[in-house]
């Protein structure tokens, strides 16, 4: 695992995430959100989980980010207005980050380097999904179907 690559990915991911959280224009925030997700996918590649990284790119950037952009366009009459910023939320977020950082830095057993493991092939993931985890897989399929039908019903035009 490369230290320089890690630093570059970490800085760009966190900068894009911060831009997504604080930019005033909603469209700019949505595009920064997509960049932050590319950074998370790059972390997955760095950690040796290429399949999950690709799935993240396809699902989050290909579907979720596009869906967010469409929603922004459909509710455009309102997106130009400034909705204000709640500073209490910022204080809570900084406090949570401080607490998490304290816990992570205090735990000495986390200072380990990655062991050498054989590369994770898609075949191994597929075999696990189709044998041990076949019931959770079917449940997720049912959940996705139900969620998409529910989303369609929510946005159907109501009859007056």
């Amino acid at each position: 695992m490369n230290g320089a690559a890690f630093i570059v990915i970490a800085i760009s991911t966190l900068a894009a995430a911060l831009a997504a959280a604080t930019l005033r224009k909603l469209m700019h925030a949505a595009l920064s959100f997509a960049v932050a997700l590319v950074g998370v996918a790059a972390f997955f590649f760095l950690l040796g989980a290429e399949f999950v990284g690709l799935a993240l790119v396809f699902i989050y950037i290909g579907a979720v980010a596009v869906l967010i952009v469409f929603t922004i366009l459909l509710t455009r009459r309102d997106t130009g207005k400034d909705h204000g910023f709640n500073w209490a939320g910022a204080i809570i977020a900084v406090a949570v980050f401080g607490g998490l950082m304290w816990a992570i830095l205090k735990t000495q057993s986390l200072v380990i380097v990655a062991p050498h493991t054989p590369a994770l092939t898609v075949k191994r993931i597929g075999v696990a999904l189709m044998t041990t985890y076949v019931w959770p897989l079917q449940c997720v399929g049912l959940l996705l179907t139900a969620a998409l039908i529910g989303a369609l019903i929510l946005v159907l035009e109501e009859k007056q």
Binding site: T71, L105, V140
Partner: protein, 104 residues
Amino acid sequence: MTPTLQVFLLVSAALFSIGLLAALSRRHAIFILIGIEMMLAAANLNFIAFWRFGGEHQPPIGVIIALFSIAIAAAEAAVGLAMVIAVYRHYRTTNVDQFDRLHG
């Protein structure tokens, strides 16, 4: 220098806190959804990091949990954005402070 598990967890904690900042401090419904998605991505990063540093497992459970989590996040985004559109039709706004019909 090779990155340890600790620095991955620090990056993930920072990403989670930025998502929490977006979800708590912005008043626009779509910003809140973006924040929630960012927190879910940080959790996925934790799963993958613990799987990579935890040694050999058969089956690769951290990767499979992350895959299920991505699928559930996609379902959540679809329903959440549909709700934003449905609420916008009624109230003509996406400011969460103005959705107060149930206010006592």
